[in-house]
Symmetry: C2
Subunit: 211 residues, 2 copies
DNA sequence: GTCTATATATAGATAGAC
DNA sequence: GTCTATCTATATATAGAC
């Protein structure tokens, strides 16, 4: 056959990305050298740069890998959730979808690193921004529908509330990255409790007295 | 008088730290060169290293500057809050104390960078860990007292709840660092609302005995 | 205390053989 | 596609004059 299967080329790329992700998570982008990536991937410098044009492209590719492996892409699952006729249940599914990665030990530090790098890398910033906008739209849509269906407090602004829902989810990653004692899986119920109490309508007409 | 007032030496150090903080916030630790710090501080390389032994020491010093300038140090204010006889009010004061810095535009990215750097810098990790432990103790103590006083849900575990209170506060910094549209000052009331709904006792019977 | 000049090292990326 | 060898740039930190 002609042309070395593109499948093999793709597999090799994935292997490099996997090795690089570990390093970037442990040491950050700048302190991870291409030489280390070569060693971890078991190949030479000349070969590494045959697969990726530069170090930054490797980092980007880690966050571009979407769908393909799983049956359904994240975007598809978000879209399907938005169309649900039980917005609250759909919201809980979205929360589960977005928190799943936090259980993977490399994800939290990797996400932190990506956020920091996005400050000085417009391309990465745009990439993460698109992801975040997608998630924000999905959550805000569900919150609006849930409010209309009487499932949550209708007084909440869907946009602001969605921002905080995503912030709480992000806390799972930042806390895991910061505090070695923090176990995302164990804290998931607390996260759900906070969301429920925050979003569910105030019990009666109780107005908490604040001085 | 004696030579070289220590005051002048200290002022010069502070000036370097101020200049360096801006750069570290904008470009991160690794991508900020000592040459840039020299330029921003208006001095030569040889002189910069007269004030600090190395680049990392400059970064550390930014997070060590505590108290001295303000009338009362953060540790003192936390200790005083813990002794309050109105735990809920004291908790709100602690929240205000810990969120104040988020309004300073350089603080959020700087905090993010510190967290990331702490992963590979044990000394910095210890420094931030001490700060965080102090805050966690203060909040957990106040939550336990507030529960005993019937001000919040007594079913909450003070340790876990304190972790999430601090996580919510941290969200103010991470969101500000991530999303240019996020205005910490404007979102502070939402943060307070979430805390109130999360922590206050389940609606049914218990109500705060405050009058 | 402040400067200029530079030692030292290490990084990312490329060239070109096989 | 994969390698070895290396170019080029740039960074931290130091030496030593003033």
């Amino acid at each position: 056959m002609r042309k070395v299967d593109p499948a093999k080329h793709r597999a090799r790329r994935q292997y490099i990305l996997h090795a690089a992700a570990q390093l970037f998570a442990a040491k950050g982008f700048e302190r991870t050298t291409t030489a280390e990536i070569c060693k971890a991937a078991g190949m030479s410098s000349g070969n590494l740069f045959h697969y990726f044009p530069n170090k930054r492209a490797i980092f980007h590719a880690i966050f571009e890998e979407d769908g393909a492996d799983s049956g359904e892409s994240k975007a598809e699952r978000l879209a399907r959730a938005q169309a649900s006729d039980d917005p609250w249940a759909a919201l809980l599914e979205v929360v589960e979808l977005l928190t799943a990665d936090a259980m993977n030990p490399v994800a939290p530090p990797l996400v932190m690193e990506a956020v920091v790098q996005a400050h000085r890398d417009p391309e990465l910033d745009a990439l993460l921004g698109r992801d975040n906008a997608q998630e924000h739209t999905a959550v805000a849509t569900l919150l609006a529908k849930a409010a209309a269906a009487g499932q949550i407090d209708p007084a909440l602004d869907p946009h602001d509330a969605a921002t905080w829902v995503l912030a709480l989810i992000a806390s799972l990653y930042t806390s895991a990255a910061t505090d070695p004692a923090f176990r995302p899986a164990a804290q998931l119920p607390v996260l759900r409790l906070i969301l429920q109490r925050f979003l569910k309508a105030p019990p009666l007409d109780v107005h908490p007295p604040r001085a």
